[in-house]
Symmetry: C2
Subunit: 142 residues, 2 copies
DNA sequence: TTATTTTCTAGAATCGTTCTAAGCTATTGA
DNA sequence: TCAATAGCTTAGAACGATTCTAGAAAATAA
């Protein structure tokens, strides 16, 4: 049963991506993929690992996040300078960004349509369309 | 005539923003606003100033860009971590981002419609909607 | 096993940006 | 006209996120 092999599907995912299923990568994958959709910075994930008593260097967290992103297990989202969010939801979708709390939230794909795209510049093709709806708290708090 | 007072409208714009029309700010405004729509980083603008023999520190370029942005003369756009673009087009519009050359280009506002926005999270209101269409060169070059 | 390859890591380095504190400049109003 | 004042500029240090380095450790192959 799956409960007897809690890592088996993650191990397969890593192997399919050409990544050895090391202790560090398994621990990060568990933190990332077993809690629903998440939008995390490298430093935040490193903090979660520490809190879970997983000793891992920050450099390894960055390495793993970029490797997972290259493998299509994560997606990188940029909404402000100097900080990247890694998104466990790799389906097509867009985001709300709360400017006051610096939090990212998904907008389900079917709830936002971008009308016909204009033709991209000659010689180029579209790799992704990112829509970010920036919001702020009403009044000055929350 | 306007040609006799090439700086007069820029001076007015700065004064209206509560900014003294200093040598540095006038030179930057001239570089920014007299060449059509531009999307520049602070370092790029600093380089243009140097090339035009305007001696100005990088800190002053950053200060001026943020002041101009606060005054509504510029808009800040983020498309990748660790770098901000300042956009001289403050009309509502969206962007193509060429991932290979790191160049930003305007999409005229009327050429891209974002269908009805979903309701923002409770207690928040929308400050801006940013659409970035990421493109890459066909084949491996430019 | 042992050899080979990949991965991990501490710490240094880098990069864009912001801060600091001291000197300059534009503006004001006597 | 010219201090006095408030605002501005600057070099360089500091910063925070990220990347690099190079040697040690772990995973896999032989
Ligand atoms: Mn990255
Ligand atoms: Mn800024
Ligand atoms: Zn998301
Ligand atoms: Zn633009």
């Amino acid at each position: 049963m799956a409960s007897d092999r809690p890592y088996s599907s993650i191990i397969e995912r890593l192997k399919n991506a050409g990544l050895r299923p090391t202790r560090q990568r398994l621990a990060l994958a568990k933190l990332l993929f077993e809690k629903g959709n998440r939008h995390l910075t490298a430093e935040h994930l490193h903090g979660e690992a520490s809190a879970a008593n997983v000793r891992i260097s920050l450099a390894t967290v960055y390495n793993a996040l970029h490797q997972f992103t290259a493998a299509g297990l994560l997606r990188e989202v940029v909404v402000e300078p100097g900080r990247s969010y890694f998104d466990t939801n790799v389906e097509e979708h867009h985001h709300f960004y709360r400017e006051d709390t610096c939090g990212l939230e998904d907008i389900p794909g079917e709830h936002l349509q971008v009308g016909d795209l204009p033709a991209p510049p000659a010689g180029t093709s579209v790799t992704r369309v990112d829509v970010v709806i920036r919001v702020k708290s009403d009044q000055g708090s929350t």
